[in-house]
Amino acid sequence: MPNSSSRTANALASPWRIALSPTGNTGDAFFRGLMFSAALLVLIIVGAMILALAMKSKLSIAQFGFSFLTSRQWNPVKGEFGALPFIYGTVVSSAIALLIAVPLSLGIAVFLVEQAPYYIARPITSLVELLAAIPSVVYGLWGIFVLAPFLRVHVEPHFARWFGWLPLFQGSVTGIGLLTGGIILAIMVTPIITAVIRDVLAAVPDSQREAAFALGATKWETIRIVLVNGAPGIAGAIMLGLGRALGETMAVTMVIGNRPEISASLFAPSYTIASVIANEFTEATQDLYLSSLVELGLILFLVTFIVNGIARLLVWNVTRKSGATA
């Protein structure tokens, strides 16, 4: 910051110069209290979220109890509400996403930190980050009209032909279903996982690399050592991606088919927790229906809060340590 000293002078000159009273303590206490109350407000918001979601889902919790999580029946007309199909759809689509996104992100991050020269790494980093700037609904639009038809014609038939003996790849090929949802999610979480892994790798001290090279290790062997060093942080990055994938709504809603069924096939339409809330919330006229949807929201909130919490602790651990030695 080259011009900060002149800025300081300006800033002190006016309008803050009016009275340089020595009794600034009241002002300090007031200012500190104001900032503190903003920080407190964040905690209050989180508390209010849990409280409001819990209160609104009381009806459904009282009615179904624990069986809400294990029942496969979701039939608003009959007043039956079970969350299992949505839990299944959410978990499987996120798993597919991570299966694709984790190796991809590791590759990109390693390339950017360990291999690419600065003048290549810099623009590529910006481009990969732009993937994260694309709104969910735009991914959904692209998924419906580009990805789903592509998978239906060029990918899923081949899977069905070669791996059709697996229950995973049986059934009709429509392009709309778990696999498409998982692939869209993979594209969406890749920039997030990549960005965190990049930070983690950059935090691994150079002495590790130099030691490996000095022992005659190849580039790849050195990278493996760096990866082992950053393992907890990489785990945190993956958890962050998982948290995002679990709660991602619009793009998945648009390509997953929205049918509350559990099918072994990845081609079959499915439904996620976030999607059912998005689709049915405004239609839910009965109290129990609405309450069940809010309970799904509560489950999603708690799960993503825990997943993100673990992720943050893992990432903090790695990046803080290097920050202390740097």
């Binding site: 200012f31 990109i108 481009l127 190849t218 709660g247 976030a274 929201g297 999603l300």
Partner: protein, 281 residues
Amino acid sequence: MTTALTRADRQRRVTNAVMTSFTALCTVFAVAILLIIFAYIAWQGIGSVNLRFLLDSPHPVGEGGGIGNAIIGTGVLLLLATLLGMPVGISVGVYLSEFGSGRFAVIVRFVVDTLTGIPSIVTGVFVYAIIVVPLKHFSASAGGVALALIMIPIVARTTEEMIKLVPHSLREGALALGAPQWRVTLGVVIPAAASGIATGAMLAVARVSGETAPLIFTAFGSRFFSYRLDEPIASLTVQIYNYAISPYDEWHAQAWAATLVLMFLILLINIVVRFFTRKKF
């Protein structure tokens, strides 16, 4: 130099070559997907974007219509979210960087970080429960609150990071001149970090401008021009969603055109921000 490579050495070299090419391939793949998506949006959208489309409100199928009301709606929602979320977010960031050494601050930092990962649809459900239900109708203000809640943690963390970059000598200098701490923070530290804070704020605006899920049952959407905060209001994202899942080709084309407009807005913010931060660091 005549020592022949052993079998193991040759294998190591092959592994090295394969893996280092694999990483490059991953990168090329990701960039290719980005370019394909952008190219497709531009190709599909450009045909339907014209002045009438940008200014008109939606019409029934077959009669054209546009996204003028949605552009205004998104503007109203973003303005409201910024007014509500920005002061809180910046204050939290200031607290964390200037007073944030105790246990309470660690908890707040953790909660703020975790909050950025909470699905936006859950925020929508929350705002529905606390605002839409008591008022008994969807409203622009509910949508603005939902977006503000999403904005707060993002702004708080970037503000904290940016303020931490301000050198301690500046604070010490101002304190040595006899200024109380609040004046040091407001008059010296925040101005010194102003461009960084503005960058974070703009990125937060870009981020929430693409949100759809928290708006579906708060701001709801509308087919008419509206500036009122107590009535449902249209937004670009909800409009894109409604058109995308409709069965009409004409509306699909409009969805692509609206997407092009939205992406233009988001890219513009991102590029401007990148341009300014590049100069600074």
